[in-house]
Symmetry: C2
Subunit: 207 residues, 2 copies
C-alpha cells in the first residue's frame, strides 16, 4: 500500500493547511495545497485569482455551477462544456489524480477525497474546530479583523460546503465520509499531526 494519499478537508481557520504541511514534512511526502493553484493556472491559463476564489468556493450566481448542476466530474470527462468553473474543476481533478498516481502525497481541500475515491487508496481526514479557536487562529495567522472574523469564516465555510455538495453529492463534514475527523481546537495541531501520521503508518503496514 505504498501509494496511499492523505486528503484533508478542513473548516476555514481550523489549521487544516498547517496540519497538512507539518504532516507532509513529517512523513516526507509532497504537499499539494496552494501549489495546486499554480499547477491549475499553468494547465488552464485561468488566473491564480480566479482559481483561488472559485476552486473551492461556490458562488451562488455562477452560470458554471447552474448549467453544471447534477453532473459529476469524477469520471474524468467534462460533461457540460465551456463554463470556466467547470473547466477549473475538471483541471483540478486531473491534476490531483496525476499527482496521486505518482506516489503518496498530502492534498488539502478541492474535493480530493471524492476525486480519488475508487482510484487510489486514500486516508481521508476532516479538520474542524469551535469558532473561538478559529477566530484566534485567523487573527494571529492571517491578520483577520477580530470583529469580522466569525462572519468571514462562516461565509467561506458555507461556500466550501456548497462547492463540495455540488461536485460530490455528499455532505461536507459528515463523519461517515471520512476515515478520521479531528477537532484541532481540543486535540491541538501537533496532536492532529500525530494522530494522522500514526493512522497512516498503521495503514501502510497493513495493521
Amino acid at each position: 500500500m505504498a501509494n496511499r494519499v492523505i486528503t484533508i478537508g478542513r473548516q476555514c481557520g481550523s489549521g487544516g493547511h498547517t496540519i497538512g504541511k507539518l504532516l507532509a514534512q513529517r512523513l516526507g511526502l509532497p504537499f499539494y495545497d496552494k501549489k495546486l493553484v499554480e499547477m491549475v493556472a499553468a494547465k488552464t491559463k485561468l488566473s491564480p485569482e480566479f482559481i483561488r476564489s472559485h476552486g473551492e468556493y461556490f458562488h451562488g450566481g455562477s452560470i458554471g455551477h447552474i448549467i453544471g448542476y447534477g453532473t459529476r466530474f469524477n469520471s474524468g470527462v467534462l460533461k457540460t462544456g465551456s463554463a470556466l468553473t467547470d473547466q477549473l474543476h475538471q483541471a483540478q481533478c486531473e491534476i490531483i489524480l496525476e499527482a496521486a498516481e505518482k506516489g503518496p502525497c498530502v492534498v488539502v481541500g478541492r474535493c480530493a477525497d471524492y476525486v480519488l475515491a475508487g482510484k487510489v487508496p486514500t486516508l481521508d481526514v476532516f479538520i474542524h474546530s469551535e469558532m473561538p479557536y478559529k477566530i484566534d487562529r485567523s487573527v494571529e495567522e492571517h491578520s483577520l479583523e477580530r470583529e469580522r472574523a466569525a462572519s468571514i469564516l462562516t461565509r467561506r465555510d458555507k461556500a466550501r460546503a456548497h462547492h463540495y455538495r455540488f461536485y460530490t453529492d455528499q455532505k461536507w463534514g459528515d463523519a461517515k465520509n471520512y476515515d478520521l475527523c479531528l477537532d484541532s481546537g481540543t486535540l491541538g495541531v501537533e496532536g492532529c499531526v500525530a494522530i494522522i501520521a500514526g493512522a497512516y503508518e498503521r495503514m501502510r503496514q497493513g495493521t
Copy 2:
C-alpha cells in the same frame, strides 16, 4: 485534568462497544455500557428489557417522546413528568453524571457527550463504518442473519439518531459535535483504540 471522561457514540455494528471495552482495559478505567442498564434498573425499577429497548432508541409512537418534545434534561431537572421514557432518560443522565464525577471512565452511547457537556471534561468520540464491515461484524459477533443484517442495522441507527436528536438537538454523527470521529472499518478496532488512547494521554498531559 485527571477527571476526563471518554464518551463513545457509535453506529450499530461498528465495534464501538468493543473499542470502548478495550480502551477502558488499556487505560485502566471503569467501563459503562451494559452496566448502565443494571444501574438504571436499580434506580428506577424499570425492567432491563424496557431500558435496553428505550434507553437509546426512539420509538415513533412513544407518548413519552411526544409530550417531552422540546424539553431538555441536561439541567438535571425532569420537566415533563411521568412518561416512562422521560424517567428512563432522566435516570440515565443522573447515573452518567454521578459516574463521571467519581473519576475518569469510558461511557458508551446514551447521549453521554451531551449529558456531560460543560460539567465534566470529556473526550467525545464517534465510531462509524461502511455497511459491509458492519454486516460482517454483526454476523460474526452477534449472530445476525446476513440477509436481514443491513435492514436491522439501518433501523437501529435511525432510532439512535432520532433519540440523540430528540434529547440533544444535535445531529448524531456530525463531525463538529465530537473531538474524534473514526472509521473502524478502515482504521481497525485496535487502530481506533490506539488513536483514542493516544489522544486521551495527550489531553491528560496537557500537550
